[in-house]
């Protein structure tokens, strides 16, 4: 028979429920860090469009295309014509110039550039020139930045990885 010991009873009484670890400091830390990080987080992450320079080109070239002797290069140019140009020529839109090919005009629709037609034209060029990577975008001074970006974007979509930026010398008569 087990003997009863009064001291054992005392010991039982002193036993308490095991204490949980104190999480309050770590909670405080989290509650400080998380709002700080949420303030820093960028909700709308921006995309980037890289601009390429050809050799000997100083970023922005100025000129009207064409050129003299030397080997004929497969130079495709997209001219984005501005409203000031349209005032003198009655044509607002874009032109695609290729050596040996008639200039393709893409007129604007109700004052807005026709990007779906440009998309088709670039697709057609890509089907003819599968290994061409370079294309030049010549933009008139009064063309909006958004229209320039859309044009460069379509060029990149169709695999023209080297998009050159050029500003033509514009003379209005």
């Amino acid at each position: 028979m087990e003997r009863y010991r009064p001291s054992a009873m005392r010991q039982q009484k002193s036993q308490t429920i095991p204490q949980e670890p104190n999480l309050v400091p770590i909670m405080n830390l989290f509650l400080t860090i998380i709002p700080m990080l949420m303030m820093m987080v960028v909700i709308s992450q921006i995309a980037l469009l890289a601009l390429n320079f050809s050799q000997g080109e100083g970023g922005v070239t100025t000129g009207g295309g064409g050129g003299g002797g030397g080997p004929v290069t497969e130079k495709v140019e997209i001219h984005i014509l501005g409203k000031n140009y349209a005032a003198s020529t009655n044509f607002l839109g874009m032109e695609i110039r290729e050596p040996g090919v008639a200039t393709k005009n893409i007129p604007a629709i109700n004052g807005f550039y026709d990007y779906p037609s440009l998309d088709k034209a670039l697709q057609e060029i890509r089907s003819r020139k599968g290994d061409l990577n370079d294309i030049t975008v010549l933009v008139h001074p009064d063309v909006l930045y958004g229209d320039l970006m859309k044009t460069i974007d379509l060029c990149k979509v169709h695999g023209f990885s080297q998009v050159h930026y050029s500003a033509p010398k514009v003379q209005y008569y």
């Binding site: 429920i17 949980e20 999480l23 770590i26 909670m27 989290f30 509650l31 860090i33 998380i34 990080l37 949420m38 820093m40 987080v41 960028v42 709308s44 992450q45 921006i46 995309a47 980037l48 469009l49 890289a50 601009l51 320079f53 100083g58 970023g59 922005v60 629709i109 109700n110 807005f112 026709d114 990007y115 779906p116 998309d119 933009v139 008139h140 001074p141 009064d142 063309v143 909006l144 930045y145 958004g146 320039l148 970006m149 859309k150 460069i152 974007d153 379509l154 990149k156 979509v157 930026y165 500003a167």
Partner: protein, 182 residues
């Protein structure tokens, strides 16, 4: 103490037994802690100093593009923000002036080239760093100003120029629809 009291207190049946109250259960915060840990890990993973440096500005209406070029791994970018009424230059967001100053004020144009050249020199002091100019412009800015910025950037010695946009894979379809509705 009276004897009767003594007798009554010794009577076991009459002894008052104090009821033992159950201890109130503490609120378990373990699940909350787990959730906070997940959020913290997610935020730490997604955050980067570069993203902060080239974060989008709510005052700029960015053009949308399908493609998204990656910034060079060793590229150190100098941002230039062109708002319709002002230009802000560098990571310190220094006020430059109005976009018109780029075309009309030769001194201010030279100041910009000088500043950008100093930025290029400081970037090149870092090992293997590539100089990148990041143009963040509003959709409605005429390209004349963009051309001047690109000219200034290349004159200062930047090797790469990037334009900031918002990625939208469907912009052409949306544009096509809006053209058809007109």
């Amino acid at each position: 103490m009276h004897i009767t009291d003594k007798l009554s207190s010794s009577n076991k049946s009459a002894r008052r037994v104090r009821r033992k109250f159950e201890e109130a259960k503490s609120l378990s915060i373990t699940s909350l802690l787990d959730e906070l840990t997940i959020i913290l890990v997610f935020l730490v993973k997604n955050i980067s100093t570069e993203a902060v440096k080239i974060s989008s500005d709510p005052a700029i209406q960015y053009p949308t593009t399908i493609t998204n070029d990656e910034l060079l791994a060793k590229g150190v970018a100098t941002p230039i923000k062109i708002f319709p009424d002002r230009i802000v230059v560098g990571t310190e967001a220094l006020e430059y002036g109005s976009p018109a100053d780029l075309l009309e004020n030769p001194k201010k144009r030279q100041d910009l080239i000088t500043y950008l050249s100093a930025e290029v020199n400081s970037i090149l002091q870092q090992k293997d760093a590539e100089t990148c100019l990041l143009v963040q412009a509003d959709y409605s800015i005429p390209c004349d100003y963009i051309t001047e910025i690109v000219r200034a950037g290349t004159a200062a010695g930047y090797s790469y120029i990037y334009f900031a946009t918002l990625e939208d894979a469907d912009w052409l379809q949306k544009y096509n629809l809006s053209l058809a509705q007109q």
